[in-house]
Symmetry: C2
Subunit: 324 residues, 2 copies
């Protein structure tokens, strides 16, 4: 699949950092840059930074005879895929109806394609990652929030308005914790890194003892989901409880996805999967309890395999498959 | 779409009754028979009854120059669509690996196609029913159980093993009521007719007063979901509580479907929709609370429009679109 002379640029545009990579048409990343997005500089400056980063990646890697055929950009938020417009994004609160595709194409004269960042992640994993042998998979990214991408028949399922796969906002406990979306009991309220931190902080404030607080040098603001994971590994009761709760709700969410879509694979990525060794067994048990047995038996539940490159590679792949 | 000279047979095979109809290639039903399935007679006798019913429908309606191009059968349970085998079905507990397609084709020499009954229902509604103008819809059938069908890009999404759309077994309350599947808190435990009856009976047995018991002449065995609906209309407190609970959990399930799939339409069918006037407002409110607003604004939530013919017409349509 693909020839190495066709090159693509993949951009994984995050609220904190942007990742820009050069990707071959067979999905290998040959070079990448990571730099702060600096949203506070304003839209025009951020777009300038994206363009400069793309140019730098091209200058650093291009060899005669090769050419950049396309640029793919994965962005958080609601994206109009056809027109390449960021309609709105929680990570870029001031951006409304930003025609990023057009802005990039105008400067670089390279065909540019956009999609949601979690869709790009899922597509990267399907193209050359954990899901490269399957045609249907659902991807969950467990980071600050919980993102999702659904691949059916080898293609991203965008839904009627390009907004599908908001897996983080599946209700898993109707009267559960409040989510950032305003609703209660969303998967994101339990299976995201930020929700772990919030729950641990709440428990500490209500008097629970935990070594997490020692790890954080007594300062709640230093608490991260990774510290909670470390404490769980050491047998800390609260940390174990919170990690188990996280994994259980993740299992409920995954079981629902299996019962609804009967996919070949569930791919789980994002920072929280650093704790996969303690999350996975609990999640699997919950899935086996709740997913119908035939579908549960066949589905593979795996960790994403491209690390933090899934988004870059997937964005480049979206460009590539739009072009060929 | 379609010519009236091409005719199809649609079979909606239920645990209690079978419905067999003659359907034109533009989705009009010209004649139908309804007869008891009589599962207790055993597989061979039931298949004989299906074949006889098909022949009867043909004899009663066929005119010279027309011909039956195909037979479609919707059956409850897990169906191997490619080979036309009923792998297993809760409604036919003794049937395992039944090659129904082959058995019908052998006798009638008409190409036969099989699918799950809820998929056939959904396809009927998409073809010529409530969803005829849309390309993506999710269908829920609220009867004894809760069935589901997912239509994406105008086609049934079967999943990797043909088992997708088990919407009734989406967890909507992790520690909720026990479901027939063995799990707890499935949508089917709250939004099916049988779960309404069960919850009302439990409430009566624990001492709750309700006019449902009068309607049922004091006999718990006479209680139906329709009596509960009638009592709710008259202001009966318990009946209203149970119907509201049903509608709320239906709303949670539908909101999850919207957030995951961003469909154009949700179609709700089955016997319980006789109570649509009191279910719908509560369900809609819950959906608006839980589905992301952009997707919730655009989706239409409607009642199925083909009555108890969706399954027949959909099964015929599945045959038709497999043939053309």
């Amino acid at each position: 699949m693909g020839d190495n002379k066709t090159l693509l640029i993949g951009v994984d545009l995050g609220g904190t950092n942007m990742r820009v990579g050069m990707v071959t048409s067979d999905g290998r990343m040959v070079h990448r840059l990571i730099l702060p997005t600096r949203v506070t500089l304003g839209l025009d400056k951020v777009v300038e930074r994206i363009i400069k980063a793309i140019q730098e990646v091209i200058n650093q890697t291009i060899v005669p005879g090769n050419q950049i055929k396309g640029i793919g950009i994965g962005s958080p938020g609601t994206i109009d895929i056809q027109s390449g417009i960021i309609i709105s994004s929680p990570n870029f609160p001031k951006w409304k109806q930003v025609p990023l595709k057009h802005m990039i194409e105008e400067k670089l004269s390279i065909p540019t394609f956009m999609d949601n960042d979690a869709n790009a992640f899922a597509f990267g994993e399907k193209w050359v990652g954990a899901g490269k042998e399957v045609q249907s998979l659902v991807c969950l990214t467990l980071g600050t929030g919980v993102g999702g991408g659904i691949i059916l028949n080898g293609r991203i399922w965008h839904g009627a308005d390009g907004m599908a796969a908001e897996i983080g906002h599946m209700t898993v406990l109707p009267d559960g914790l409040k989510c950032n979306c305003g609703n209660y009991g969303c998967l994101e309220s339990y299976a995201s890194a930020s929700s772990i931190v919030r729950r641990v902080c709440n428990a500490i404030q209500s008097g629970k003892l935990t070594m997490v607080l020692d790890y954080a040098k007594g300062n709640l603001e230093n608490i991260t989901s990774d510290l909670v994971y470390q404490a769980a590994l050491k047998g800390d009761e609260l940390a174990i409880h919170i990690m188990n709760e996280t994994a259980t709700f993740l299992g409920i969410g995954i079981a629902n996805l299996i019962n609804l879509l009967n996919p070949e694979m569930i791919v789980v990525g994002g920072g929280l999967t650093n704790a996969w060794d303690i999350i996975y067994p609990v999640t699997l048990k919950e899935v086996q309890k709740r997913a119908l047995s035939e579908m549960a038996k066949r589905v593979k539940i795996v960790r994403a395999s491209l690390g933090d490159n899934s988004g870059i590679i997937g964005a480049a792949g979206i460009a590539y498959f739009n072009l060929i």
